[in-house]
């Protein structure tokens, strides 16, 4: 549905800071009907990406196609303006027009958009859109008299009412409080999925991205570092950055010995045996999720088993988080709350090889 090729965008230098290369050759595809998340830390270029797709920002080079229409191509000099790309978008600020009622807000794309619609049909379709987001009773309310969650729904209804071919969402949940965010996460996904609209969703929250998307792309400094399903990226990160960004993890650096399917990595913890990385490495980082660590009583031997001492434990209710000193290293662990662990306890830590992922050493952020 959406194909983005080699998109670049550089913001020219201003008087007090240098040029910013916000996008440095980004490519990705979204399949019809998919819910796709663009995830990355603040300032990595997500909004710039979204605005380029929307036509609110003009990239420097590359190509964007929706279905079989090319909406932007630097080569062909094509740049269809935002109002003719037939998109729906929910903005980070919601951008509800405060001088209009809820009805007028939602009716706007039909009344003033590309294809003018008759009065009766507008009334009918706005009602349907408002019912969809459960705001049918609020049609005559002035927009500023709505709560944050309601405003978000109005924004959604407005983005959907003209049946866009692609829905763009810019951090739509970040203005809501935690409780509401949890419910809206599920509702939002169900809603767009039931309508079958292809959706591109931008967020810096990995829980949100994983919980909602079919596929996601992880961005850093204007490039996509990895894309795939949430499980893919969580369980098989290709870089220390991806591992770290997707959730808590132990990153253990070491020397790689041997070649073949399994290799040994000399680390401060000890020698860890794990599957080889895609490329041959001399140095590497072993990624071990806290959940991957198995905890046993003291004095147990076996592959990837190490003696350790519990250093600290914090009881969080849902889970218990702890740190175990192993050799010269410290490992984060997670255990279930019914298990007794206390600081000072000696334990055996097992790192099952199939749960260890070897990635190249971090090259740091790009220049």
């Amino acid at each position: 549905m959406l194909a983005v090729r080699d998109l670049t965008k550089t913001f020219p230098a201003r008087h007090d800071n240098g040029a910013v290369r916000a996008l440095r050759g980004v490519s990705f595809d979204i399949a019809d009907g998919d819910f796709f998340a663009l995830l990355g830390p603040s300032g990595c270029g997500k909004t710039t990406m979204l605005q380029s797709i929307a036509g609110l920002e003009t990239p420097d080079s590359g190509e964007i196609a929706m279905g079989d229409t090319v909406v932007y191509a630097s080569a062909g000099g094509i740049n269809i303006p935002a109002n003719r790309r037939q998109l729906g978008m929910v903005f980070q600020s919601y951008a509800i027009w405060p001088h209009m009622t809820v009805f007028d807000n939602v009716a706007f794309p039909l009344a003033h958009g590309e294809r003018k619609t008759g009065k009766a049909e507008i009334a009918e379709r706005v009602k349907r859109a408002l019912d969809l987001v459960k705001l049918g009773a609020f049609a005559d309310r002035l927009a500023p008299h709505l709560s944050g969650g309601q405003q978000q729904r109005v924004a959604l209804a407005r983005a959907l009412v003209h049946e866009p071919r692609l829905l763009l969402l810019d951090e739509p949940l970040s203005n809501l409080d935690a409780k509401l965010r949890d419910t809206m996460r599920i509702e939002l996904r169900q809603l767009v999925k039931s309508l079958g609209i292809t959706t591109l969703f931008v967020t810096h929250d990995q829980v949100e991205a994983m919980g909602m998307s079919d596929k996601l792309a992880l961005m850093r400094d204007g490039v996509i570092v990895q894309q795939g399903t949430p499980q893919d990226i969580y369980l098989r990160p290709e870089s220390a950055f991806a591992a770290d960004f997707m959730g808590r993890s132990n990153l253990v650096a070491g020397r790689v010995n041997g070649n073949g399917a399994m290799v040994d990595v000399e680390t401060p913890i000890g020698t860890i045996r794990c599957p080889a990385a895609a490329t041959d490495l001399n140095d590497g980082i072993v990624v071990i999720r806290p959940q991957a660590v198995r905890l046993h009583g003291p004095g147990i031997g076996g592959q990837n088993c190490y003696a350790g001492t519990v250093e600290q434990v914090s009881f969080l209710g849902d889970v218990v988080e702890g740190e175990v000193r192993v050799g010269a290293g410290l490992l984060k662990i997670v255990v279930d709350p019914y298990r007794q662990v206390a600081p000072g306890q000696t334990v055996t830590v097992e790192l099952p090889p199939e749960r260890c992922v070897l990635v190249p050493p971090d090259s740091g952020s790009l220049p």
């Binding site: 978008m89 951008a95 027009w97 001088h99 706007f108 794309p109 294809r115 003209h162």
Partner: protein, 572 residues
């Protein structure tokens, strides 16, 4: 999706670009045209029409700097500006502190009166003062003579001090509005902290409040100096008789002499010097603003400054503030009185039965005044409307459009701030004198567009900055064209600022004398120039009647809006 039956609407694609280019052309002609002509004329040989020769000479500048009177003129100008701004800002600061930071009664009243007073033309105030304190039969002088047996004249309008004081009083309202804004935005916690730490009230005022305010006051002061250096009407009607030439009147007399032919090249050279002074002041102003930013104390929301308790001083403070308005009202009352009699009479109870509205009938019947009325309405309505239209578009391009076009438009429309109106109008005169526009009301409109677009753009820029960018983007994404998004979303949101700006431009356009006087012919007279000519003629009662009508008309328009605005702001 039935997307196939759509007619292609190609022209929509370029709506924005075309508007931008047209706008650039209009603003370019308005602003750059006169400036180019000014520079050209300043190096043209003396006593030529500057646009009819290619010769270049610097003899005009040489003449200026070698002329013995030049240092006096420059000295006068600076003294005049510094004196009247110093006094005016002091009064304004005092009243602003009373209305913003104390529990003085009647604060809303004073605020509204200050805003309303900005609508009263300095020209009218000047005439009123002449009637009050001219050395021969000024009402106050005669009163002093009769009551206290003072010999000669107690006051005289025709002195440097009178000019400075009257100007000072007339800049107070503008200074007040700016300073009140400054005080409102200052974080009172700084003061509270000092109080908690044991500072006495006056120690706090001196050691904390004043130093914190200094950068802001300084930048307001420079802004006001710039305005006074550029001021023209009071120096014209008071300064000329008093033989106190300043730069603005000098430029005027060279281009519109009482007798003899205008010397455009010399006056242009003077204009360039005056422009240079204005540019320096402007540079100082921006530097002051930048230092001010460092000090700036941003307040949180919902955070009411605790007013200083005046106690027993509450009513005396109120009286002091009202005294200012009493002084300001004197000249207007004097004009009102004068307008009631066929000949100038001193105010007295005996004369009252003779009062009549005959002058009003007479002036309203006069063909000249009728023509002036029509012209004034045209001038005011068209200038204000076109200025706001251009300003809103320029502001949109500079805030949202981004890119080179936006920046160029922004700078170009701000440039006239540095150009004294009397200089600008002389350049306009040279530029248009050979065109059919000259002598019509349209050339006056062009003049006012040029002069007020800077104000309009600044108003609209600060209004648009507060409108979240995504509000406009959302309309575009919804499929609306650029024009529709402006009309349906942006314009309704900035409507109050547009209306306010319109009102400001309209009031200033109605009271301005500079442009109508320099470009005056028998056809394009407006009320301000009619008042001046009648006064000069002399038909003092007639001038008084027309002045009074002008003030009344301005107040009738401005005061209700101010009342509404002040009610809205106390509610909100």
């Amino acid at each position: 999706m039935a997307a196939t039956d759509r007619r292609p609407r190609r022209w929509r694609v370029d709506q924005q670009k075309i508007t931008g280019i047209v706008l650039l052309a209009i603003v370019g002609v308005l602003v750059l045209g006169p400036l180019a002509v000014l520079l050209r004329a300043s190096v043209a040989p003396p006593n030529t029409m500057p646009l009819e020769t290619w010769a270049v000479t610097f003899s005009n500048f040489k003449a200026i700097f070698e002329h013995p009177a030049t240092p006096t003129i420059i000295g006068n100008t600076l003294l005049y500006a510094a004196g009247s701004v110093g006094i005016g800002v002091a009064i304004a600061t005092f009243i602003a502190w009373l209305t913003e930071r104390t529990d003085m009664p009647g604060q809303a009243l004073i605020r509204v009166m200050m805003f309303a007073w900005m609508a009263v033309p300095p020209l009218v105030i000047g005439f009123g003062w002449i009637l009050l304190i001219n050395p021969g039969n000024g009402a106050l002088n005669v009163l002093a003579r009769n009551l206290f047996g003072v010999q000669g004249a107690l006051f005289t309008i025709y002195s440097f001090w009178s000019l400075i004081l009257i100007t000072a009083l007339s800049v107070v309202p503008t200074a007040y509005v700016m300073i009140a804004g400054l005080l409102r935005n200052m974080d009172p916690q700084m003061e509270s902290a000092a109080r908690v730490l044991g500072g006495g009230r006056f120690a706090v005022a001196r050691r904390i409040t004043l130093p914190l305010l200094t950068p802001g006051l300084f930048s307001i002061g420079i802004y006001m100096v710039m305005a006074v250096v550029q001021a023209f009407d009071l120096p014209l009607i008071i300064g000329l008789t008093a033989k106190i030439p300043v730069m603005s009147t000098r430029v005027f007399l060279l281009s519109v002499p009482d007798n003899g032919i205008p010397n455009y090249s010399l006056s242009s050279a003077f204009g360039v010097v005056l422009l240079a002074i204005a540019v320096v002041l402007m540079w100082l102003y921006f530097r002051a603003i930048r230092t001010g930013e460092k000090f700036r104390t941003v307040t949180g929301r919902g955070f009411r400054p605790k007013p200083a308790v005046l106690g027993a001083l509450r009513w005396p403070a109120f009286t002091a503030a009202m005294l200012y308005f009493a002084i300001m009202a004197l000249p207007v009352l004097m004009l009102a009185w004068t307008s009631l009699f066929p000949f100038y009479r001193l105010p007295s109870l005996e004369a009252l039965p003779l009062a009549s509205l005959a002058n009003f009938h007479r002036v309203l019947d006069s063909a000249l005044v009728q023509r002036a009325l029509v012209n004034t309405v045209l001038l005011v309505v068209l200038s204000a409307s076109v200025v706001m239209l251009l300003s809103a578009l320029v502001a949109w391009f500079s805030v949202r459009g981004g890119g080179l076009l936006g920046r160029v438009l922004d700078v170009m429309s701000f440039a006239p701030t540095a150009v004294p109106p009397v200089v600008m109008v002389m350049a306009i005169l040279i530029l248009y004198i050979k065109t059919p526009l000259y002598g019509t009301v349209w050339v006056l409109i062009i003049g006012h567009l040029t002069i007020y677009i800077a104000f309009g753009t600044r108003t609209m820029t600060s209004a648009l900055i507060q409108i979240h960018k995504e509000l406009g983007d959302a309309a575009m994404i919804s499929g609306a064209s650029w024009a529709t998004s402006l009309r349906k979303v942006i314009l309704p949101l900035v409507w109050p600022q547009v209306a306010n700006g319109w009102l400001w431009v309209a009031a200033h356009s109605a009271r301005d004398l500079t442009i109508p006087l320099v470009l005056m012919t028998t056809n394009n007279v407006v009320i301000a120039s009619v008042v001046y000519t009648m006064w000069d003629f002399p038909d003092v009662p007639g001038a008084a009647a027309v002045s009074f009508l002008l003030v009344a008309a301005l107040l009738v328009v401005v005061v209700p809006v101010q009342l509404l605005a002040s009610r809205a702001s106390t509610r909100g």
